[in-house]
Amino acid sequence: MQIDVLFFASYRDLAGAERRSVTLPDGATAADLVARVRSLDDDLARLPEAAAVVVNHHVVRSDHAIAPSDEVALLPPVAGG
C-alpha cells in the first residue's frame, strides 16, 4: 500500500516537504513505517526511531497496523504553551 506521510516542524525540515509518499507491505506496523521513512534518504535517516506515529489524529504504539486509508503523520516532541 501507498501511504502519504505528513511531517511537521523539525521533521518537515528533515523530510524537505510537508508530505512524502512511502510504499509499505500490507499489515505493516507503525514501526515498519518509521523504518521505511528513515531509509528514504540521508536526511530522513536522522529521524529518531522513537518518532511519534499519529494515525487518524491518535498517537499509536509501534505495533499498530497501518491501513491504506489512514491519515498518517510523524510528530517531533511537542512544545506548545
Binding site: D13, V54, A73, V78, A79, G80, G81
Partner: protein
C-alpha cells in the same frame, strides 16, 4: 453537576483576555482565573526576538477539545475556555490563553494549572524560536505518548 467547555480552539489571531473571561462567566461563579503564556525575550540565557508557532491543526483542535472536556470533568461546576495561537508572535504576545471560572476559587487554580501542563504534554504544537542574533531553532519539546 459538571462544568461546561465554553471554548477550545486553535486560532491564528491575537488572544485577548476579555472574550476568554466573558466565555466562562456565569452568575454562579465566584472566581475566574486566566492564564496567559507569553513570548519571553530570553531562553536559556539567549536573547529571543520572537516566536513562530506551528500546529498539526486538525489534530490539535481535537486534543484541545479533549483536554478541555477532561478539565471540565475535574470540576463539579464551572466553565473552561482554552485557545492556542499559531503563527508569528512578537515579544509579550500570548501564545496560549486558559480561563477557568468556578463557584469557589481552589478548583479554578488547580484545573487551570492542570490544563497548561496537559497542553505542554499533549498538544501537537511546535515553536520556532527566533533569536536576537538572527538565528532560529525549533524548541526541544516533550515526546508524545501513545493514546491509551
Amino acid at each position: 453537576m459538571s462544568a461546561t467547555v465554553a471554548m477550545a480552539r486553535i486560532i491564528d489571531a491575537p488572544i485577548h483576555p476579555e472574550p476568554l473571561l466573558d466565555a466562562v462567566a456565569a452568575d454562579g461563579h465566584g472566581a475566574a482565573l486566566l492564564f496567559l503564556g507569553t513570548v519571553r525575550d530570553h531562553a536559556d540565557g539567549r536573547p529571543v526576538s520572537g516566536m513562530r508557532y506551528e500546529a498539526y491543526v486538525e489534530m490539535a483542535e481535537k486534543v484541545m477539545d479533549e483536554i478541555a472536556r477532561e478539565a471540565a470533568g475535574r470540576l463539579e461546576a464551572g466553565a473552561v475556555a482554552v485557545v492556542h495561537r499559531i503563527g508569528t508572535l512578537d515579544l509579550r504576545e500570548a501564545s496560549v490563553g486558559i480561563a477557568v471560572a468556578t463557584p469557589h476559587r481552589a478548583p479554578a487554580y488547580e484545573v487551570n494549572r492542570w490544563i497548561i501542563e496537559e497542553i505542554k504534554k499533549r498538544l501537537p504544537v511546535w515553536k520556532h524560536e527566533h533569536y536576537a542574533d538572527g538565528d532560529a531553532a525549533w524548541v526541544e519539546g516533550t515526546p508524545l505518548e501513545a493514546d491509551a
